[in-house]
Symmetry: C2
Subunit: 355 residues, 2 copies
């Protein structure tokens, strides 16, 4: 946490930082429109000689007034730099424009979270995702995923896949060095991990457990790829604590899954996993913990994502500190055999056995 | 503009700054709820020994889950600092909690702007305040001010008064050194400047020009203070360009008024002021220009406020660069006789005469 602004910060700087927070929603929208209107791209193209608001207005057919309020906001945010009447793009501006992670985060925050986050206070008080009603009448977002408006759904899945999939290539050899033959993917969603498993290991068969709605998409993918013999699906509501998990799998896989639950629910899930394991089974947990990050940017994103869970997803889950997860594992009598940070940069892989 | 992050910023830092923008609306709401839930105040009270999330949850009756997601967000934003499992308030946190300007800005952004800012792109494209429909069915916010929901109205007036009134004590001697007897306050709103004038100068009479709705509030104040003989009101829609201004005033006053109009409208207003002036009349313009600020925090607030005008107020006005205003004055054949920065810290006073 070396880069944190510490108490040596001047009072003037602290007051400035406070105003950045106070005006944050307005500046967020300005940054997004700078990106989506083409202004940021045009400034980038003219990065050597700079560009005036008048030239931008002429080129893009946006009013000079609109261009000015947006570009001045861009300057205030340091995504643009004003010098001798001409605007230039900054490094931060490049990330807003071209970095896939930043794009995915910004679209997710705007399309999925923005309106609902107005209700954060109510979500904290009630323990319910009080912002979700802005998207639809569901108890949690998981019931609504398959019926979200197209743009919102795209932003949700882009975010979800971006932040989990890039760890899979690193994780595959760490899992299959144990030569698993039968793997159960709990919360397997549309099957992205399962498909990579059967491609990586010719011997493994994978069962995906998830809500019926998600499995519709997974089953379609399985059929289209002719993989019915190697990938199967099991519909289950994980939150129904009376539902035990099927036995007979030598590996259980949970990727970015437990962060969708409260600590009590995590313990219940882990206890049911324990009951389904024998002494040679391995439980893999692939997660991002905010205390295990090398980059402050990653920690910031994870902690911001927690509030999405609070206000939009289900009201009671979050991106955890690794110690929280280790405590839950102990309560379920599981021991961590391997603890590997830096999987796909931000992820941590726990390989666990029955105590 | 000495404190701007320049191109020496590292790529890692630029990526972090981009994520702060990408998650800005979420973090804004977390900061606000940290303040309004009492958490920030409790952390401040325990600023010597720090406080754990568990202690906060017990003391305030908020779930430990809710406390954790909020305090972790507070740490990510650097309004809290985590050390040895205990949280401490930072200088920025003090501003979020106790600084009146920061409070007023944050309430204004949440209550007045937050929901509507979702529509910024439409506002830029159409030149209309596309976010205003979230508050009511008005063409501009000025028609709706007197019928806004109470909390929204309070946040609007708190913001408006905070950012203009503190300059009045500095401005009074600068105006009344000329011993004006008849002053016309164009856009005088609820009469706050007029009341200070008649108190400061025993000889002056003030006429307030504004929309009928605003004058209702002004007239009530006048009656309650028995000032009918010294303060009068004149109802006028300034945007009706066929309406000339009354003549016979030796001073015309416009405080934080012209920023509510487009440049074309400003020129029309200034030309009508010109027509109402004789060779000895003085036109005073008290404004905040973003290029005239000593503090980046002030510049940031002004530029953020521009986007409120774009999306919520009227779709075509902004906080101007001083050169924009000087150009409008030239077009109306007015010359700046005095140009005084630093009035009440952020304001600039122009005293103008006919050319």
């Amino acid at each position: 946490m070396s880069n944190l602004i510490d108490e040596d910060i001047s009072t003037i700087q602290a007051k400035y930082e406070a105003q950045k927070i106070a005006f944050a929603p307005i500046m967020f929208q300005a940054a997004r429109v700078l990106r989506d209107s083409g202004i940021l791209n045009l400034v980038k193209k003219n990065r050597r000689k700079g560009i005036t608001p008048e030239e931008v207005a002429n080129d893009l057919g946006i009013s000079i007034y609109g261009v000015k309020v947006l570009m001045e906001a861009g300057m205030a945010m340091d995504i643009l730099r004003l010098e001798g009447g001409r605007y230039y793009i900054t490094k931060c501006g490049f990330f807003i424009l071209n970095d896939r992670m930043t794009q995915v985060n910004m679209d997710f925050v705007h399309d999925v979270c923005y309106r609902g986050m107005f209700n954060l206070e109510e979500a904290i008080q009630t323990g319910k995702p009080a912002g979700l009603r802005e998207l639809g009448p569901w108890k949690t977002i998981y019931q609504g995923l398959s019926s979200l408006p197209e743009k919102v759904q795209k932003s949700w899945f882009d975010f979800d896949h971006y932040h989990s999939d890039y760890a899979f290539p690193d994780a595959l050899p760490l899992v299959f060095k144990r030569n698993h033959k039968k793997l159960m993917d709990i919360g397997g969603n549309t099957g992205r991990w399962a498909f990579q498993c059967v491609e990586y290991s010719p011997e493994v068969a994978v069962a995906i457990l998830d809500l019926p709605g998600q499995l519709d998409m997974a089953e379609k993918n399985i059929r289209e790829n002719g993989l019915e013999k190697r990938i199967s699906t099991i519909a289950i509501d994980i939150l129904d604590q009376s539902r035990s998990f099927p036995e007979g799998y030598d590996a259980i896989w949970m990727s970015q899954f437990l962060d969708c639950f409260s600590e009590d629910e995590i313990v219940s899930i882990l206890k049911r996993a324990y009951a389904a394991m024998d002494n040679s089974s391995v439980l893999y947990i692939l997660e991002t913990y905010w205390d295990r990050q090398s980059y402050e940017a990653a920690r910031y994103c994870l902690i911001g994502t927690s509030l999405y869970f609070t206000c939009m997803a289900n009201g009671n889950s979050k991106m955890y500190h690794s110690k929280d997860m280790l405590r839950c594992l102990r309560e379920a009598d599981l021991v961590v055999e391997e603890d590997i940070d830096g999987v796909g940069i931000s992820h941590t892989l726990f390989a666990c056995r029955k105590r």
